[in-house]
Assembly symmetry: C2
Homo-oligomer: 176 residues x 2
């Protein structure tokens, strides 16, 4: 995983209505080895709560709002990266992940309910996670897990102030 650079671009976010889902998108990305999230909307609340988690639980996750999504995609491609758009209309994950895995710089676009038609053409890969309607959070989690081949479960978060000690029953944490 060390050579791979993955970032998330969240589009279609509506402040208020999408705050929790977008926060889940960011934290899922962080837990599963993404470097950060670009948010194509203005929402300091989301940014702050994501950065608060990152500060306490470690690692270098970034979260930036007020991103222009077309520019973000253009710049990412200009820097040699590829763009994956998660959409139920795309090619099913198991049928395309091997083609994507060699790309080491990946922008994963995660839309809310409405995604501009233009997005399908801008993406290098439109990827479906089952082709059934469910959740962009679930789609992101499964995509990252397959992309990293499960290695993100051993991901390290340097600088953490707290760590969980896995246990069969109950809650055990360690302050660092």
């Amino acid at each position: 995983m060390t050579n791979k650079e993955v970032a998330i671009l969240r589009i279609g976010h509506r402040p208020e209505r999408d705050q929790r889902v977008t926060t889940h998108v960011a934290l899922t990305g962080r837990a599963l080895g993404a470097a950060g999230m670009y948010l194509a909307a203005s929402d300091k609340g989301v940014v702050q709560s994501v950065l608060d988690v990152a500060e306490r639980w470690g690692g270098q996750f970034f979260c930036e709002d007020n991103i222009k999504w077309r520019t973000c995609i253009k710049d990412w491609k200009a820097a040699g990266g590829k763009v994956v758009h998660l959409t139920m209309y795309g090619i099913n994950l198991p049928d395309i992940i091997q083609e994507i895995r060699p790309c080491e710089k990946l922008l994963v676009v995660v839309g809310a309910e409405k995604v501009p038609g233009e997005m399908y053409g801008l993406a290098d890969y439109n990827v479906a996670v089952t082709g059934q309607p469910h959740s962009e959070i679930a789609s992101l989690a499964l995509f990252l897990d397959r992309y990293h081949e499960g290695k993100e479960f051993g991901h390290d978060f340097p600088g953490a102030k707290i760590r969980i000690i896995p246990s069969r029953a109950g809650k055990q944490t360690e302050e660092l």
Copy 2:
């Protein structure tokens, strides 16, 4: 997957605040081969929107609200099933999934932010999906994917009125 019976028990749901996340939990379960969701709260809105999706996209997914969670767990165990509780404090998924996989009747408990301490003792397995704070939707998705060993990506939904034709760019659907 055919011999496996998986249901979800959603606890700690607060109407209004959790409606979208709980709906995502149900739809993620449905897409990844769960039989249905028990909701330990009263929320007809969630039930209706989940059943609307199931009606249109096929399969036999159930969704019941007003469930008493302790009774649900007790009945599940009495019928020979096992109970998995997804919690960041549990044993990391890759370290325990092989122990769980032979169980063919599984209730997966998905909590919202606050979970009663009692739950940790009632579960046969407390399972963490990375031990980092992120999303119960992501946790459920990764758990089901590992449990089914990826086979749920080929899951069939009989009786669907609509189906997606996977495509590299754009949206293609088929009315059935």
